[in-house]
């Protein structure tokens, strides 16, 4: 299975994301934001970093990159897309996911291992987990506070669109401890924490993050 990882100017975690794909058993495919070709990948990961220096708003300029038009197009046909941190911000700015990510309420950059509660274990990116499972992956952001209008938050909760929630303290003031959300069809998932940094015991707090990448591989096998 070919999993594309898009590099934008200012992406930082594209190499780690590609490595996570490889460790999960997939074939990572490097994609460049200015291209128009998704190279027939089976799924796409938008990695963390500071695309365009977070100028204007985090993820705003990257969301208008040429390749993102293809991503939006293919996502409407069911292409699985995972946005991590800056990638989550890009997906919200591109309109693929609801809400927005804003400056942390305490104004500090927060970098730590973070407990998460998996609430949806039936999305393309979380099927390797069990609903209610508690996992630990690193979080590192300065603009990770998830916000949306209260009525929109009620709607998202009602539709079960919250995929992961912060479990041992809210690192950024996100509304209702929301760490990640998904599209209506559960194929597009965005989260602020970094599962690609928790794929080996040697380099992370454990291997809980690997589940996001094995999930999409099994989702693709089922589809094929």
């Amino acid at each position: 299975m070919r999993i594309g990882v898009i590099t934008f100017p200012g992406s930082l975690d594209d190499v780690d994301a590609a490595r996570a794909v490889r460790l999960a058993g997939g074939e990572p495919v490097a994609l460049w934001h200015a291209d128009h070709d998704l190279q027939d990948v089976d799924a796409v990961v938008l990695p963390g970093g500071f695309s365009y220096g977070d100028y204007l708003r985090a993820g705003a300029i990257a969301a208008r990159a040429p390749l993102m038009r293809e991503v939006v197009d293919r996502a409407s046909q069911g292409l699985p897309v995972l946005g991590i941190c800056n990638g989550f911000q890009v997906l919200c700015e591109a309109g693929l996911l609801p809400g927005a990510l804003t400056r942390n309420s305490h104004l500090h950059f927060r970098n730590r291992d973070q407990g998460l509660l998996v609430e949806r274990a039936d999305t393309a990116w979380t099927s390797s987990f069990a609903a209610g499972q508690r996992i630990t992956v690193p979080v590192k952001n300065g603009e990770g506070r998830y916000v949306a209008a209260p009525a929109e938050l009620d709607r998202l909760e009602g539709e079960g669109r919250v995929v992961v929630r912060y479990a041992d303290g809210n690192p950024n003031g996100s509304s209702r401890d929301i760490a990640g959300v998904c599209s209506e069809d559960g194929r597009v998932v965005g989260l602020m924490p970094h599962p690609e940094h928790a794929v080996e015991d040697l380099t992370g707090p454990g291997t809980d993050g690997l589940g996001f990448f094995t999930s999409v591989l099994s989702a693709l096998v089922v589809a094929a």
Binding site: C92, A100, T102, R103, N104, S105, H106, A148, P150, G173
Partner: protein
């Protein structure tokens, strides 16, 4: 054209609150609230097309999910 972008009233603004805190420490206790925003100045060739400028403001300069936008077109 000038475009001002501010967070919607229901979205909390920690940057504005930090400025408010500093003002209090500097003895300006009379300031009740600070909202921090962005100010864009656009220069265009020829007569400005208001519809196009509005589109620019509402689709790129501001994120309508969290921000309100105010356009100021040159009047003369």
């Amino acid at each position: 054209m000038v475009v001002d972008v501010v967070l919607k009233p229901e979205i909390s603004d920690p940057q504005g609150q930090a400025v408010l805190g500093a003002l209090g420490r500097l003895g300006h206790g009379g300031v009740r609230s600070v909202r921090q925003g962005k100010h864009f100045v656009l220069e265009v060739d020829g007569d400005p097309d208001e519809a196009e400028l509005r589109q620019i403001a509402e689709t790129l300069l501001a994120n309508p999910v969290i921000e309100d936008v105010e356009l100021h077109l040159p009047t003369d």
